[in-house]
């Protein structure tokens, strides 16, 4: 159960990963408290998968450090048991039946919850005798989710799990995911380039773009500290100290800016309107894309 003394779910310092000359992650520092459903958003190729692969130990960092639940990722069998991972494209063994996948989970995980697994499989309507190679994308994702969750981890990591699913399957998958997280009392990290999904389920957000973390924090705090300000051009260049412009758009005689600053203080020259999560994320991504081009 999350409490104030448990270590951060993710704690990165100067985390960098390069593949040859290509930098996938550059100097990422962040700390995510436990008990959150964390949304990791960013455009394709922003480094989301790399960060999650680092978090479950499939990849080693080039430099910097990353601690997951207070230890090196995949440090030992006991640590592996505490983290569940559902990879992109939800890989399963095509020649195994659904029931054999559950058996695999039971054999390989000491804390395996067979009752939970069987109940979930029945709930989503999977036939235990069906070969996994013949499942639809949505069914395969449900199976992969069940395997990752029935080992009763403290942290569930999902790498674009719903990207390939049709809207109906995606909706069912996300609902199931949320039920698992609630039942297990686990934290979860979910990456997606679909903001809708993130908005629906996450209470903590990390915006990753251009291989860097653009902004991270609890959704509630982010919404409280970001505002939309409309003002004549020029005025927005003289904002009081402590207020940072994330992005400005010029519309003829008015400029619209998304700014960051403590709620209402210091006072903004113009009335501040609330921003939507989508607007906030897009502002950061646009800024990062602009910096990338420069």
């Amino acid at each position: 159960m999350p409490n104030t003394t448990s270590p951060p779910v993710l704690h990165a310092e100067g985390l960098t990963k390069r593949y040859g000359r290509r930098t996938a992650l550059s100097d990422v520092s962040l700390s995510v408290p436990p008990g959150r459903i964390i949304g990791l958003v960013g455009p394709n190729g922003a480094g989301k998968s790399t960060l999650l692969h680092l978090a479950c130990g499939l990849v080693e960092p080039t430099s910097g450090s990353l601690a997951v639940l207070g230890s090196r990722p995949a440090a030992d069998a006991a640590h592996l048991a505490r983290v569940g991972f559902v990879a992109q494209d939800t890989p399963v063994y095509g020649s195994f039946t659904v029931a054999e996948h559950l058996r695999l989970g039971a054999r390989l995980n000491p804390a395996w919850d067979q009752g939970l697994a069987e109940r979930r499989i029945a709930q989503v309507g999977l036939n235990p005798d069906q070969k996994a190679g013949r499942l639809s994308g949505g069914q395969r994702a449900q199976l992969a989710l069940t395997i990752a969750a029935a080992k009763r981890p403290e942290l569930l990591i999902f790498d674009e799990p719903a990207a390939a699913l049709d809207p109906l399957a995606r909706s069912g998958f996300l609902r199931n995911l949320m039920e698992f997280v609630t039942e297990l009392g686990a934290s979860a990290v979910l990456s997606s380039h679909l903001l809708d999904d993130i908005e629906r389920v996450c209470d903590h957000l990390i915006v990753l773009s251009g291989s860097r973390v653009q902004v991270a924090g609890d959704v509630r705090d982010l919404l409280a500290t970001h505002h939309r300000v409309t003002a004549p051009p020029g005025e927005l260049e003289r904002l009081p100290p402590g207020v940072e412009t994330v992005r400005v758009e010029h519309h003829g005689r008015a400029s619209v800016a998304v700014v960051r600053g403590d709620a209402g203080r210091p006072p903004l020259p113009r009335p501040a309107e609330p921003v939507s999560l989508e607007e906030l994320v897009l502002s950061y991504m646009t800024r990062a894309a602009g910096e990338g081009r420069r």
Partner: protein, 341 residues
């Protein structure tokens, strides 16, 4: 983990078991056949001083079949390494399933170790059983022909094939881990292991133990017992020499023909004997040439291993292969833990 290793391996295991049963049935039939022929040979030989003709008959009846089978058994480890070893890890990496299985509560090191042990043991059992059956089937032939150190024969009898299977399989698995693609790993395993199997008997096996050394005088009689005479690269060589005191010893190195002062016999003197020897009317394999060469008081220096070293060689070669397998496995375990993607 053992259950998973077995579950993923069972189709290949079934194919291997079927092939082994077929091979066993044939080898049992062949073994009975050879025993019948051996009885016939012994009854023909009984009481007669000169057994050469029945022996040659018995030998020629089975020589090519057994050589073919020995070559076939030599391919078994390479095939197992290619079809069982190479896909072991590469298939997971190719399908992406490693991202699922490596996130169960089993470390990657243990995952690989158990898979290597389970499937590797199966490869060794299959090869070992086939080798044992061939050894049994060929036993009467080997007893008569006495060529146990032959390149093909040595590697197709007793325990050495078990070592080959271990190495081929581990090599395949590690190649798959490093190359990350199934087909290239299979190709590298097949080609790499066959090249190794060609080089090892020629370059390494003779040096597994320090050989005994002696010189053999090449009298006209000794030359006539040899199989061939010729000159290669300036040296005059004699082939198929046997040591009179130890006819079954394995000659691992043979010098060119040498004169009494220890120098190699000059090509001109050799050719003179070969092309226009003084006529003496001598009989024998090489006739006048043997007499001519015999008068030159020649000898050859021989490095050889006495026949009673056979089992020492079998175990030493098996140990070398198992040790190499262990080193490769250790590298694979290090690699899967440290550097994967």
């Amino acid at each position: 983990m053992i259950w998973l290793s077995w579950r993923q391996f069972r189709v290949q295991a079934l194919a291997g078991a079927v092939a082994l049963v077929l091979a066993a049935a044939y080898l049992v039939y062949l073994g009975g056949d050879i025993r019948d022929a051996h009885d016939v040979y012994r009854s023909k030989c009984g009481g007669r001083a000169d057994c050469a003709e029945p022996r040659a008959q018995f030998r020629s009846a089975y020589e090519s079949t057994l050589l073919f089978l020995a070559a076939g058994l030599g391919l078994v480890p390479a095939v197992l390494g290619t079809f069982w070893g190479a896909p072991l890890v590469a298939r997971e990496l190719e399908a992406g399933t490693h991202r699922m299985v490596w996130n169960q509560s089993v470390t990657r090191g243990r995952w690989l170790l158990v898979k290597l042990l389970v499937v590797g043991a199966a490869a060794m059992v299959v090869t070992g059983t086939a080798a044992a059956l061939l050894t049994w089937a060929a036993a009467p032939f080997d007893e008569v022909v006495e060529n146990r150190f032959g390149t093909f024969e040595f590697g197709a009898r007793n325990v050495a094939p078990v070592g080959y299977a271990a190495l081929a399989f581990t090599f395949g698995a590690v190649a798959g881990l490093v190359l990350r693609r199934t087909l290239p790993a299979m190709a590298v395993t097949l080609a790499g292991f066959l090249v190794f199997q060609f080089l090892f008997p020629n370059l390494v096996r003779p040096g597994l133990m320090p050989p005994e050394r002696t010189t053999l005088p090449m009298t006209a009689q000794a030359i006539n017992q040899a199989r061939s005479l010729g000159s290669i690269g300036g040296g005059a060589v004699v082939g198929g020499v046997r040591i009179p005191d130890e006819p079954d010893a394995w000659i691992s190195d043979l010098s060119p023909l040498r004169t009494a002062d220890g120098r190699n016999l000059g090509e001109r003197r050799f050719n003179a004997c070969l092309d226009s020897p003084p006529r003496t009317g001598a009989t024998g394999t090489f006739g006048d040439t043997a007499v001519c060469l015999g008068k030159l008081r020649l000898h050859v220096a021989v490095a050889y291993h006495p026949a009673d070293r056979y089992w020492a060689f079998q175990w030493a070669e098996t140990a070398v292969y198992l040790a190499l397998s262990g080193l490769l496995a250790a590298f694979g375990l290090w690699r899967v833990r440290r550097r994967v993607t």
